[in-house]
Symmetry: C2
Subunit: 350 residues, 2 copies
């Protein structure tokens, strides 16, 4: 019995169909730097060398984690791509970088060009919104790796910052203010725990409407990880990068507890006032239905704070006002830098 | 019953242990451009702007596909990382780019810091060999996504080429020579079919020694995807990039049949002489035990040719001699460019 590639579970034609669909989506994201079409071996991006004294490329790789399971449960595949892009954009934004280009990796057991197109449509939409070109990627059909209808995605971003404007937290000192920017939901972390609470402990379904959430559980869990670029970019553009904005922390896996210390220099720690902001309903419900300890909540989830800005106390009001002018009215002081060993202390735990 | 993150299958401590192990492996790959440690939000790489008139960043995303299943079967996890890096290096080399930095994505159901360390050790080794800095990555523990002991990996590379030295195939004309460089095995494609042939049709085990292969099936299938950078770099360094080397095609998924056309300009096609090189034993055994049609073989596998160089006929002997001097004695003419519609015609099929 003669064998071929298709029998072994790999459909090159489906792969080519997918690439064709992706090509036009990607083309819609192209910025003037892009020199290549999707389908060439490498993506080509011309760096405008004269714009930078000392160009520093800032890159990050991320996934969406088990938030994907919520996409599988609801059959909605057009949002996780945006989660991926925005997560990456925020990861380089915290060092002062603006995005240049993005590549994605999509792996599945049996490739559905239609689902792949939805996923990449989400990637492309967020790339356009962030002014970031989608210039390449890999779509892999891997029989036996993923359950039917499931897939994994990873994203890779490259941005640039001129070295004098690089933000790395080195100037942070005890006494500095910590300003929190609201998250749009769970973003992309804590989903393994959140799904257990929602679908096992609370007994909800994705289409269960929960009054406190004002929407269905599925919608609440799929809320897109927001990009902070639109509201932070005006502050960077003014040259506040290395001066006023001393450090930015993206609150991802590990929560405030593990992410805020990543920007603290030796001799510094953070004191966060848990009473300074109102924790959104979704987190309160998760804690209540899961009986989860408060410290565990702050390690597993962002608790309503997706990004933290460190600045001198004298600049705090101005930064909050500038963020409001840029479209983020919800920025608020949530704590301060204290002397210590790069950890987080919480006060006013309700 | 109070819930926590660990019960839901995510072990933040295992994650932190893994990051600690990876950090020192990554540090061993650092080149002078690296400004950051692993663990910062983004990886920082300073581009030496004065080395380039018009720096073009060349990037690629890749996976290893179901070659990973062979790693799982044999318990050998230190080679697939090198496959990943070398695959990426070749994908940007074909456009004349030298690698700058690399990021990896490692996703697993239940994170074993020891296995992750082996995988990343392979990544780091190949990064060092290619002069490419491992400056970031993501390790994701995703319960319910991957079978026990299994994982997926993806890699992202960024390199640079000065625009006048960019290789893109545009100068290829009918009459040009096509030179093949030997592969080191299946590289990273065709594994879903190859595993079915070896383990189902032929009834072999990973530790079965096959005389024609001179080794075990597991070893033969795990042979590392080679990097062509060491043998091609000397030709690029001489400035042959845009002149003598008109086009380079990396023969990956889709084989010669689908990859060679990617560098052909309109009006050109390729004629490949199947009698010009000796197809290695592994491919012959796969064809024989699987009863696979020859055309299917050339679409599923690289058939012993991992990279193809297009150059003017008058330069062919010189390119072959230069490749030999650079350490690749096996380069040989395998065909020519003809007039046509960007496809591949095979002659002398045995």
């Amino acid at each position: 019995m003669p064998m071929d590639y298709r029998q072994s579970g790999v459909d090159i034609d489906a792969g080519n169909d997918t690439v064709r669909r992706i090509k036009s989506l990607a083309r819609g994201t192209f910025t003037p730097g892009v020199l290549s079409e999707i389908g060439s071996f490498g993506g080509l991006f011309k760096l405008d060398r004269d714009r930078y004294q000392e160009p520093v490329l800032v890159s990050s790789a991320d996934g969406v984690g088990t938030k994907l399971k919520v996409a599988f449960m609801t059959g909605r595949h057009d949002t996780v791509g945006a989660d991926l892009v925005n997560h990456c954009v925020n990861d380089i934004l915290v060092q002062g970088a603006e995005p240049l280009f993005f590549l994605d990796y999509l792996a599945t057991g049996r490739l559905s060009p239609a689902v792949a197109e939805q996923v990449i449509a989400g990637v492309a939409r967020a790339c356009r919104e962030n002014g970031c070109a989608l210039i390449g990627g890999e779509t892999a059909e891997m029989p036996g790796f993923y359950a039917d209808g499931e897939y994994d995605i990873a994203g890779f971003i490259v941005g640039v910052v001129d070295r004098p404007k690089l933000i790395d937290g080195h100037a942070i000192v005890p006494g500095d203010a910590l300003i929190g920017l609201p998250s749009s939901g769970l973003h992309t972390n804590g989903y393994s725990l959140a799904r257990r609470v929602c679908f096992d402990a609370a007994g909800w379904q994705p289409d269960t409407t929960v009054p406190e959430l004002g929407t269905t559980v599925g919608e609440a869990l799929l809320a897109t990880h927001r990009s902070y670029l639109p509201v932070v970019r005006p502050l960077l553009a003014r040259g506040d990068g290395a001066g006023v904005l001393k450090g930015l922390a993206h609150i991802t896996g590990g929560g405030i507890t593990e992410n805020l210390p990543r920007i603290l220099p030796d001799g510094c720690a953070a004191e966060i006032d848990r009473g300074a902001w109102s924790v959104p309903a979704l987190f309160r419900l998760l804690q209540q239905h899961g009986g989860i300890a408060t410290d565990e909540m702050f390690r597993a989830f962002n608790m309503g704070i997706g990004m933290i800005v460190a600045c001198a106390t004298r600049d705090a009001d101005r930064v909050i006002a500038d963020l409001a002018r840029a479209g983020e009215p919800g920025a608020t002081r949530i704590g301060r830098v204290i002397s210590g060993n790069r950890d987080v202390t919480y006060i006013n735990t309700p």
